[in-house]
């Protein structure tokens, strides 16, 4: 772990990513300390107000403080990213391990299913899932997780196929160690690196996709401070008050960039090759 951190510190891009992600997490955790107003609080004095010293990002079309809403929005976006990737990771890891370790008909069956899901563009599948489940915050976590696991499963399976052939796994099997123990003790630690890299990049794409869903009218319901929703709501005021949509969009951009940089840094530091 310290070795990994040292390697990361040497890579300026990865370091920048780590800093951005840390800052975004701090914003989310301490949103209530930093924000001058509650995210849903209305103050008519700042109706479409330009950004100034007290209201750093100005006011929106309902007289709410955009800076506060962007800070609270970080909570939602980070949760979407983390929860959906946790779902994707759980499914992808289990299916990849099962397919790679047991092989045979199970492998064929599972991988055909993976191919089937990969046949859908990620956001389109998420749209279909949200429409099927009904739009809500929890369902968008679910949809993005359910749409995002197949690639993870594929990478895990490929890695398992390599590790399975190694002498220590062969030896463990010859000694009669149970499958579950082999999977937990030998396989999972060895597939972890690519999984971490994929999940980090996956958080970035989940945050982007969630904003896209909000934009298509499938996000969390209206007053909730979601970056995608704020961007969409500010659309009608692009001429008079471009900051309404400008700052939430910038927040998405910086956060996604941070996770992508971090993912690249981790990939180099962990020496993972994704093909």
């Amino acid at each position: 772990m310290t070795k990994l951190l040292k390697k990361m510190l040497k890579n300026p891009a990865g370091l920048l990513g780590l800093i951005i992600v840390t800052l975004v997490i701090l914003c989310a955790v301490f949103a209530s300390y930093f924000s001058p107003m509650a995210p849903l609080e209305i103050n008519y004095d700042i109706y479409l107000a330009k950004p100034d010293a007290t209201h750093l990002m100005g006011g929106d079309d309902l007289g709410r403080d955009i800076f506060s809403r962007v800070l609270y929005g970080a909570r939602l976006s980070l949760t979407v990213g983390l929860v959906s990737q946790l779902i994707a990771l759980t499914i992808g890891l289990s299916i990849g391990l099962a397919a790679g370790y047991y092989g045979g008909w199970l492998d064929t069956l599972l991988m055909r299913f993976v191919e089937l899901i990969l046949a859908f563009p990620f956001v389109i599948l998420a749209v279909a899932l949200v429409v099927a489940l009904g739009p809500s915050v929890v369902n968008s976590f679910l949809a993005l997780g359910l749409a995002g696991w197949p690639y993870m499963a594929r990478v895990v399976r490929a890695q398992v196929l390599v590790v399975k052939q190694s002498d220590y796994v062969q030896a463990a099997r010859a000694l009669g160690v149970s499958d579950l123990r082999i999977i937990i003790q030998h396989l999972i630690p060895n597939v972890l690196s690519p999984v971490i890299v994929l999940a980090t990049a996956g958080i970035a794409s989940a945050i982007l996709a969630e904003a896209g869903l909000s934009f298509l009218g499938l996000g969390p319901p209206a007053p909730a401070p979601s970056w995608g929703g704020m961007l969409f709501a500010g659309r009608s005021y692009l001429r008079e008050a471009p900051w309404i949509s400008g700052f939430p969009g910038l927040a998405i951009f910086i956060t996604v960039l941070g996770f992508n940089l971090l993912g690249d840094g981790l990939r180099d530091a962990l020496d993972v090759r994704l093909r």
């Binding site: 891009a13 055909r112 191919e115 089937l116 046949a119 859908f120 563009p121 990620f122 956001v123 389109i124 599948l125 749209v127 279909a128 899932l129 429409v131 099927a132 489940l133 009904g134 970035a204 982007l208 904003a211 896209g212 934009f215 298509l216 009218g217 499938l218 961007l231 969409f232 659309r235 692009l238 001429r239 471009p242 949509s245 400008g246 969009g249 910038l250 998405i252 951009f253 996604v256 960039l257 992508n260 940089l261 690249d264």
Partner: protein, 306 residues
């Protein structure tokens, strides 16, 4: 090549069938009765009964699936609730607009991305490389709708250079293309760079350099040719992102197309239309992947004998 073609086409059939079944099942779990959604509050029980029979909703699931697949095979995607017209007709009317946007964007993205990737690789670890790699990552990370807004605001409203909304080609296509292309261009640039670096490490490149062949000529003659195959694959695979991006861009620039159709359909809960759009995009994606595979096999004979 011909037997490869036949094999791949045969493999495509179960995939298309699988996609269709999955889309059908997904749209069966939707909460609420489609007939009630369609009729709203005005519906009488008799009207509901009649519509249920008309849509075949009184039949068991398996039978409905068979009917759905049978209709699909004949090119029938069902009837749109909103437009009271066949879904395919509604989609066909706007599809060329979406394809025009996605096509223009992919061409621009490929030209831009491949050039940037080659430049990065050729001058690796120079300030130019760092700048271009940074820009590529930024291009991948930028939300397409936010970029669209900024283009509308600065190039459209403030400078008045381009119209900020409207369909068709020509000048109306410029801002939407500029919003859509960078994401894919960044992806292509990253891949071109890494592939080129890999190829540049090969023995034959070192030999060519040792022979004293001019640097640009090595790039052009040896490296690019071999780097081309993976690049083509990624361009094909990015079709999914491009179509998704195109849908969002269409909404921003008020362009008629699949995106606007989808948003309106979601608002109106026009499930047959949503289902048709999802199905069509997935089937189109599968066909694009097939084309890429075939192109790949054509360019790299080894693949055919796997």
């Amino acid at each position: 090549m011909l037997s490869f073609l036949a094999r791949r086409l045969l493999q495509l059939l179960p995939l298309l069938l699988g996609i269709s079944i999955m889309v059908f099942l997904l749209f069966q779990v939707i909460p609420g009765d489609p007939v009630e959604i369609l009729l709203g509050v005005r519906g009488t029980p008799e009207m509901k009964e009649r519509l249920s029979v008309e849509f075949g909703l009184d039949q068991p699931l398996a039978k409905r699936l068979v009917i759905f697949l049978g209709q699909l095979a004949r090119g029938n995607l069902g009837t749109s609730f909103q437009y009271k017209k066949p879904v395919w007709e509604v989609i066909r009317a706007v599809l060329p607009q979406t394809l025009l946007l996605a096509g223009t964007a992919v061409i621009l993205a490929a030209l831009l991305g491949i050039t940037v990737g080659i430049a990065s690789a050729a001058w690796r670890q120079s300030w130019l490389d760092y700048l271009l790699t940074g820009l590529s990552l930024a291009a991948i990370s930028v939300p397409v709708f936010w970029l669209g807004f900024q283009l509308q605001l600065y190039l459209g409203l403030r400078l008045g250079l381009f119209p900020i909304s409207g369909g068709g080609g020509g000048i109306n296509l410029i801002l939407p293309t500029l919003a859509l292309a960078p994401g894919s261009a960044g992806l292509f640039a990253r891949l071109t760079r890494s592939t080129m670096l890999e190829v540049l490490n090969q023995d034959y490149i070192r030999t060519a350099k040792a022979k004293g062949i001019n640097r640009l000529r090595v790039l052009q003659k040896h490296a690019l040719k071999n780097a081309f195959i993976p690049i083509i694959t990624v361009i094909g695979l990015s079709f999914g992102d491009l179509i998704t991006g195109a849908l969002l861009v269409e909404v921003i620039f008020a362009r008629p197309g699949l995106g606007r159709l989808l948003v309106d359909a979601i608002k109106a809960r026009d499930y047959p239309l949503i289902q048709g759009i999802v199905l069509l995009v997935a089937l189109g994606y599968a066909l694009v992947n097939l084309t890429v595979d075939l192109l790949y096999a054509y360019l790299n004979p080894q693949v055919r004998y796997d």
